[in-house]
Amino acid sequence: MTQPTRFSNAPSLAARAWRIRRHALRMGEVQGQGYIAQALGIADVLAVAYFHALAYRAEDPAWEGRDRFLLSIGHYAIALYAALIEAGVIPEEELETYGADDSRLPMSGMATYTPGMEISGGSLGQGLGMAVGMALGLKRKTSPAFVYNLMSDGELGEGATWEAAMSAAHWKLDNLICVVDFNNQQADGPSTDMLCSEPLAPKWAAFGWHAQRVDGNDIDAVRAAFDAARALTAPQPRVIICDTRMAKGVPFLEARDRNHFLRVEADEWAKALDVLDAGRVS
């Protein structure tokens, strides 16, 4: 196959997002735990990324011409595995191994373990700096590929994020798109209560970035933002701040408090899958 994988809107992005949520819930059920609220929250963004925006080859994850998608937030691995399964990079049956000994799908994402995982995230605040280096490297190679860095609102507290933000603007990295998942939830509580990064879009803009802020669970809005970020001709890096709802798609989990590391009882996984299936989109 010489062309990158591209998808039309059938099956719809909403259906892709639904299936990504389903893969993630099944992995959570296997392990009995996981950052499932984040996975459900970011599923719409990942659907747009993997089935609308990114160039890649499912059968050749290291294809040189691919767009690089960096998971700075290593604990969102369950979400990215779900997207990679849906994209055909990882076989669906492998989700049964999630978090198990010797699995290619460890609880925190690492590049050496998993096809399609570009970096080892998890030490939060490192992804954007690596993205700057990769974007510089791609420019050296005159590659048209984009670098996407998916990070969380919590990582905005790390100083290294802002070193990298300044640098990306300094080097005019128009091949770098940063996606911030703003679910306003960190380990100890709401992000805005502990180290508030607002006003966020103006902050990125002041750092020299083209900044957009959208409802991250509105697929049409997310798709439009990705399109705008890619189509922009201005010589500057681009950020898409996505306001998402933790556990989106499973209302009884959405309603649960303190859901950074969501506790789901053993019998609730099947219930969550039932709820999700009831709202199936095609």
Partner: protein
């Protein structure tokens, strides 16, 4: 100050360790990297506002489009170097040893070493080679980096060794931390028919009375010490260990196994966690227990001042070493 004694200045940025009248070569790292890069288009130079003070400006002048000034941001420097390496380039990332070891550790550890990325981290002002005090004195850089898996650690002695180490660490695929002597760097090892080999220790001179094991600039001091001790009819051997990790344990054990010869490890580093303790553990594991001592920096935040003063004060000047060994042997 006593009359007639020359006024010593701190000269922290110049940080020359050359003694009066010693032969030197200017910026051996910069020239060696520029020479190598002519044949290696994958090499890029990256720095965090210390290109001039790590001799990387020589490379920058030769290859301006392959030089990345990242600004005063060491965490970014290491992260971006990791990204560059992922895209197939071989970054030589330079800063001061204190900033790499202390500030950017996590970015080197998880961003570079855990992924075995091909990044060469080359850092000036290792150990006590600056008079600025603890902010610039990387007295514990080896202790910090020795614990990092996958990282190769090199501590060259002089200009010749730096010139030879640059292509050698480039030929090695994986992350490397190299301590850098910059500016006008002494030239010593050309008199010893020496050739740098990554991972290998080398016996520069043999002697029956004491074995000095050393790395970096302390090998230069050890050779001077050995010459001075001849007047006392003390015959000192000098084993130079430029690769701190992985350590050439076999050569160290062979040299230390010689009966009746005490072993002293001389290092430009705190006595905690550096070459001295690495050698001690090697000997103990190997079942070889000679009389043993360390010449190194104390477990303390060191004074500011002129380097010759400080090297005397902390026992790593040639004169101080000679006195220590005379008293001990």
């Amino acid at each position: 100050m006593s009359a007639g004694k020359p006024r010593l200045t701190t000269s922290a940025m110049i940080a020359s360790i050359a003694s009066e009248g010693q032969r030197t070569k200017p910026a051996p790292f910069g020239h060696a990297l520029a020479a190598l890069a002519a044949d290696r288009p994958d090499i890029v130079g990256m720095t965090a506002d210390l290109g001039k003070y790590t001799d990387l400006h020589i490379f920058a002048k030769a290859f301006p489009d392959r030089y990345y000034q990242m600004g005063m941001a060491e965490q970014l420097l290491m992260g971006a170097a990791a990204g560059m390496a992922r895209e197939g380039f071989m970054p030589f990332a330079t800063t001061y040893a204190v900033f790499a070891a202390r500030r950017a550790y996590d970015f080197i550890c998880l961003g570079i070493a855990e992924e075995k990325l091909n990044v060469k981290i080359v850092c000036a002002l290792p150990g006590l080679t600056s008079g600025y005090g603890p902010s610039h004195q990387a007295t514990e850089d080896l202790a910090i980096f020795r614990g990092m898996p996958e990282l190769t650690i090199v501590d060259p002695c002089d200009a010749l060794e730096i010139e030879q180490a640059v292509p050698a660490i480039a030929a090695h695929r994986g992350p490397v931390y190299m301590r850098l002597l910059r500016g006008n760097v002494p030239l010593v090892l050309d008199e010893y028919n020496y050739r740098f080999e990554l991972g290998k220790a080398a016996l520069l001179r043999d002697g029956a009375d004491v074995l000095i094991v050393s790395s970096g600039l302390m090998t230069m001091r050890a050779l001077e010490t050995a010459n001075a001790l001849r007047a006392d009819r003390i015959d000192a051997a000098v084993l130079h260990v430029p690769t701190i990790k992985p350590l050439d344990e076999a050569t160290i054990l062979t040299a230390a196994a010689r009966t009746g010869r005490p072993v002293v490890v001389a290092e430009n580093h705190t006595v905690i966690g550096g070459l001295g303790e690495a050698v001690a553990a090697t000997l103990l594991r190997g079942g070889i227990t000679p009389r043993f001592r360390q010449i190194g920096l104390p477990d303390a935040f060191l004074d500011a001042g002129a380097l010759p003063t400080l090297h005397d004060r902390y026992g790593i000047s040639t004169d101080a070493m000679v006195q220590t060994l005379r008293a001990w042997l």
